[in-house]
């Protein structure tokens, strides 16, 4: 039997991050295929109240390292606790997943380097499946591996997507950006059935080589485009910052709607990074995504292709975005969008939909 599927939880101000729950949801599918337990490792302080959420997301087993020194994430103490615990296991986890956040990207490579194991960054799809390594430069890799972690991610090279795997050593690791997977439906189960292992925390003086002087977090004013039902996204085709005013006006026609952007629009400074959609921005899956003046490069596409309805407006009929949008409008966005605002405001959609 394969080892556990382990999700290393992330918490901010003592609250389990959404990405952790998303990973538990996806980890459930992997654990089922492996016929292994799905466990969650929580590090923090006063985390008792959060355990319920992790159980509801579907964890079978919880490791809890609760200690004042773990209240705020710091590389070395977190690294110590995780490595101390994992090295004491008879067999390592089969799979170890973390969010691809500033925290996960700081910690996951430390764990991977310690265990000299593989780590796939910014994965967009996970699965378990077989792999056969036939010939090659490296004879030690030859063999048949029935249960590998498949981690798919966009690749920069000639092709668009690459499957990365490394069954030669456990844990097989991957980081995943927030929003890539959906929040799981609540699992109802008796919390008493879920074992909690309290982890002893033994930090060493070496672990305090970095001290925290100050933490600055803005309360409230966080922009989270991943929560919106409707995203009106603008790209380089807007040609100026003012274009976003027009997009905001269209967004204003909908409930729970925000504007989003391509990286090129962010890079030129028309709008802030929290609005960026794509491989190096947010992954969104709104009900409606309207892409305005966005060419549809792969790195943008991976951040929005799971939207339910994609409408693209582009003046170039050969723009790649038309290969995966549901509706393509070939035209100048500065004519199309004002028209769309006009028609929506005039009530074009408020008539009862005709039932077929």
């Amino acid at each position: 039997m394969a080892g556990e599927v382990l999700i290393v939880a992330e918490q901010v101000n003592g609250e389990i991050a959404k990405v952790t729950l998303e990973l538990i949801g996806e980890g459930r599918k992997l654990a089922q295929k492996l016929n292994s337990p799905l466990s969650c490792f929580i590090l923090g302080h006063n985390m008792q109240s959060q355990i319920q959420r992790v159980i509801e997301a579907g964890a079978d087993k919880i490791y809890l390292a609760d200690h004042p020194e773990l209240a705020e994430y710091r590389t070395l103490p977190y690294r110590r606790v995780l490595i101390d615990e994992l090295t004491s296991w008879e067999r390592p986890p089969h799979t170890l997943l973390m969010g691809s956040t500033t925290t996960g990207r700081d910690l996951a490579p430390r764990i991977a380097a310690y265990f000299e194991t593989g780590l796939t960054a910014d994965t967009i799809e996970l699965d378990i499946g077989p792999y056969e390594h036939k010939a090659g430069v490296d004879k030690s890799k030859i063999g048949y591996f029935p249960e590998c972690l498949y981690a798919n991610r966009p690749s920069f090279g000639e092709s668009l997507k690459a499957r990365i795997l490394g069954p030669w050593k456990d844990p097989q690791m991957a980081t995943i950006r927030p929003g890539v997977f959906q929040l799981p439906a609540k699992v109802s189960r008796d919390p008493a059935e879920v074992p909690i292992k309290n982890i002893a925390v033994n930090l060493q003086s070496d672990d305090f080589r970095v001290s925290v002087a100050k933490i600055m977090r803005e309360a409230g004013s966080k922009v989270d485009i991943t929560e919106a039902d409707v995203i009106i996204a603008g790209g380089f085709g807007l040609a100026s910052q003012d274009g976003f005013e027009l997009l905001r006006e269209l967004a204003g026609c909908f409930n729970n709607a925000v504007v989003g952007a391509s990286r090129k629009a962010v890079d030129v400074g028309w709008i802030g990074y929290p609005y960026q959609v794509g491989q190096t921005g947010k992954t969104v899956r709104p009900k409606i995504y309207i892409a305005c003046g966005i060419s549809g490069a792969l790195q943008h596409r991976v951040g929005m292709q799971k939207s339910e309805l994609i409408i693209a407006i582009n003046k170039d009929p050969d723009a790649p975005i038309f290969s995966f949008a549901n509706h393509g409008i070939v035209g100048d966005l500065y004519q199309v969008i004002p028209e769309m605002i006009k028609q929506i405001k005039a009530g074009a959609l408020l008539k009862e939909p005709v039932l077929a």
């Binding site: 960054a121 690749s155 074009a348």
Partner: protein
């Protein structure tokens, strides 16, 4: 207390040039053979940080730029020298082909240890946040683990005071100020200061180095795996715990986009809204 002389390294990589049109397909994929080459844009921030750290250290502080890559990557080392970096080193070896991040971090660690054996222990190592081709942000922290350096990632600004690093870094939902002991490895966020223009002196100097072989040997050290005492089995394919088992194009899937064109904006918009009214209507403000 004045800072001591700092022995500083900056890790830089040559990547395919995505700014020019050459080799860049409209769907964002890269034809590596056709694409030009450039310095990883994130590493320009690391270079600026390394030069600023040098200015904060004692008078004999120095910065060495280190890269791992095929021989043409020497270009970015010339670029480093133009910007006032003191000396450079390139690790080049056929056996490094197909290295993943773990193998890369091993080879770069061995190179840094080799340089330390000549220059004395490292005080500071700077990395870019990530590369535009690998795009993992893993190599820096993996080197940190191997060399037991203190780690500060996503650094937006820093000073060196009393031989400690005072840094501001990005965290989830905000920023954090930390004080880190030396020796340390910092990965520099792209919100850090932009790399200043190359200096006139630097540019002139590089022209001279390009013409003068003994100067090249002095300022650009070329090493291979044997020279840095790296074990072959920890490099390249054998040293990489991961492989790419398959790749596929997703550009052709889908293709059932309903196109609306060649009509007035009014008709185009009307057609889409009519077609999708059942889907859109519930989100429209009433």
């Amino acid at each position: 207390m004045a800072n001591k002389d700092l022995n500083i390294y900056v890790l830089i990589k040559q990547v395919p040039d995505t700014r020019s049109k050459a080799g860049v397909n409209p769907d964002g994929t890269i034809d590596r053979a056709k694409a030009g080459k450039m310095l990883n844009p994130f590493d320009a921030f690391a270079m600026e940080a390394a030069l600023n750290a040098k200015a904060m250290g004692g008078p004999n502080s120095r910065v060495t730029a280190v890269t791992m890559g095929p021989p043409p990557a020497i270009d970015i080392l010339y670029q480093a020298l133009e910007h006032g970096i003191d000396k450079t080193c390139i690790l080049s070896d056929r056996k490094l082909a197909a290295s993943d991040t773990l193998a890369t971090s091993y080879a770069l660690t061995k190179t840094l240890e080799y340089l330390e054996s000549k220059d004395g222990p490292a005080d500071l190592v700077f990395c870019g946040l990530q590369t535009t081709d690998g795009d993992t942000a893993q190599v820096g922290p993996e080197i940190c683990e191997r060399m037991n350096l203190t780690q500060v990632t996503y650094v937006e600004g820093f000073t060196v005071e009393n031989n400690k690093i005072h840094a501001r870094k990005v965290i989830e939902g905000g920023a954090m100020e930390v004080i880190a002991e030396l020796p340390a490895l910092l990965t520099i966020a792209n919100s850090y200061k932009k790399l200043k223009f190359k200096t006139f002196r630097g540019a002139k100097f590089v022209q001279e180095v390009k013409r003068n072989k003994p100067l090249q040997d002095e300022f650009i050290e070329v090493v291979d795996l044997a020279k840095v005492s790296a074990r072959d089995e920890q490099c390249g394919l054998p040293g990489s715990p991961t492989i790419v088992s398959m790749t596929w194009k997703i550009g052709t899937v889908g293709g059932n986009c309903t196109m609306h064109q060649g009509k007035s904006a009014e008709e185009l918009v009307g057609a889409v809204l009519a077609k999708e009214s059942s889907h859109i209507a519930e989100f429209v403000k009433r």
